[in-house]
Amino acid sequence: MTEIPEHLLKRAQAAREKAAGAASGDAAPAGDRIPDALLDRTKAAGAGATLVAAAPAAGLPVGAGPGGHTQRLLTVVKSGSIQEAKAAPVDKVHTWPHLLAVEFVASLALISFLFVFSWIVNAPLLKAADFNKTPNPSKAPWYFLGLQELLTMFHPMIAGVTLPGVGVLALMLTPYLDRNPSNKPEDRKFITSMMTLFLMFWAVLVIIGSFFRGPGFNFTFPWRDGIFFEL
């Protein structure tokens, strides 16, 4: 066990003596230390008085602090800061069972759909890869067909790199560019129409690239020449 240094012991002893002396010296007048005026006021106001800053009674002699302010501890704390609820109450439900049940049903529905669909429709497997036979048309996976469609209109550097790059960057920056704080649809008409245009632009390009492009990636109609598309 650590030894307590001597000077600390001395200091503790001195403090103890001082406290004992002060207690014995003040024992007699202790009852007089709360002024009568304050006691009366407490009686008059009842329990509520602790939260209400009472007007200082005239001629109040004792307890005056520097500058003549008369305060009791609890009157310093404004009632709002201890009574006010900081967060507005939110209407909440238990995750189990309300959310988990929904998630469970959704995942079951999805897996059943996939199971049945995979049972009926086979994934494509064409002939083994052959570098000497280029199929006509050669198409990218469907989600890149919008880009391939752009390739027919622009230089590859624009269509294949710049435009998709700018698109992804614009998407990432959306929350920092859109300074409108509201999430109500009626306040966001401009940005929602911009986004709808953006999404429709890609959707239309992908649909054209998938179904309306035939041999040589030339424009065609699926009902006239058939569909040149594999998933």
Binding site: V90, I111, A128, Y143, P175, T192
Partner: protein, 260 residues
């Protein structure tokens, strides 16, 4: 005779119930399922136990104990984010199955898929599920993004989570694209040729990027191995990290957005 009637032989149902009781009362069972678990004996529907179901499960505590009432409406989220995650899990499971039967070399890849479809039990079904799930995941992630946008859910304090989400969309596309090459059939080869030709046009570093990705100047066996490693190891590793941040931020940013 009377004694027999007093103690008739227990029926099968009673025996099953008794075994169930014993099992659920055993120390082993109770050590596996923590208090409040719905698999515990004597789960009663109380607010305390509803909280325990979430708090005491390593999987469920992705969720908070309570969620906003409007958030559990299917019409609000259409379950799109959750289904994307579910599809990812499904793709992982079916993908592991496929890995047992696949060798990423130019000489074997196509034949392995062919064998998988014709000679492996459930091989064709699992391959189909893997492929359709992959396409569906691209679609669901895309639709999830649209849903989040139209709800204005990318607004403060959720800006950064939207950025993570765009990264996840890109990673989903890359995962799908790298997987597209692996069957090593005519469709895969030429679709990837078209795709990588576009990358070659990147300014300044285009040809270098293409060389690194293809493992050569043309698509070949090296490309197959590279994309295989990207597809089964590297990209899933990266996407899991980003998904973890994404889900964590959903909760830290105050749960789901709204109501509108």
């Amino acid at each position: 005779m009377a004694k027999v009637l007093d103690n008739p032989r227990p029926t099968l149902k009673e025996r099953a119930a008794q075994i169930g009781q014993q099992l659920q009362g055993s120390q082993a069972w109770n050590s596996i399922f923590r208090p409040g678990s719905i698999f515990r004996k004597g789960y009663t529907d109380s607010p305390r136990n509803r909280s325990y179901v979430i708090m005491n499960s390593v999987l469920y505590h992705l969720h908070p104990v309570k969620v906003k009432r409007h958030a559990v409406k299917v019409s609000y989220t259409l379950c799109l984010g959750g289904l994307s995650f579910f599809l990812f899990i499904l793709l992982t499971v079916t993908g592991i199955f496929l890995m047992f039967f696949y060798r990423p070399t130019g000489a074997n890849a196509w034949q392995d898929i062919q064998t998988l479809q014709t000679s492996v039990t459930f091989g064709l079904l699992v391959r189909n599920m893997h492929r359709w799930s992959a396409h569906l995941m691209v679609l669901s992630v895309f639709l999830h993004m649209a849903r989040v946008f139209y709800h204005g859910a990318y607004k403060p304090p959720r800006e950064f989570n939207w950025v993570i989400g765009v990264v996840l969309l890109t990673l989903t596309l890359l995962l799908s694209f790298t997987g597209y090459l692996l069957p090593w059939d005519q469709l895969a080869l030429w679709a990837v040729t078209v795709g990588t030709n576009m990358m070659g046009y990147s300014p300044v570093i285009g040809s270098q990027v293409r060389f690194v990705l293809l493992g050569g100047v043309e698509i070949g066996s090296e490309t197959l191995l590279r994309w295989y490693v990207l597809h089964v190891l590297m990209l899933p590793f990266v996407i899991v990290i980003f998904m973890a941040i994404h889900f964590w931020r959903v909760r830290k940013d105050g749960g789901i957005s709204g109501p509108l």
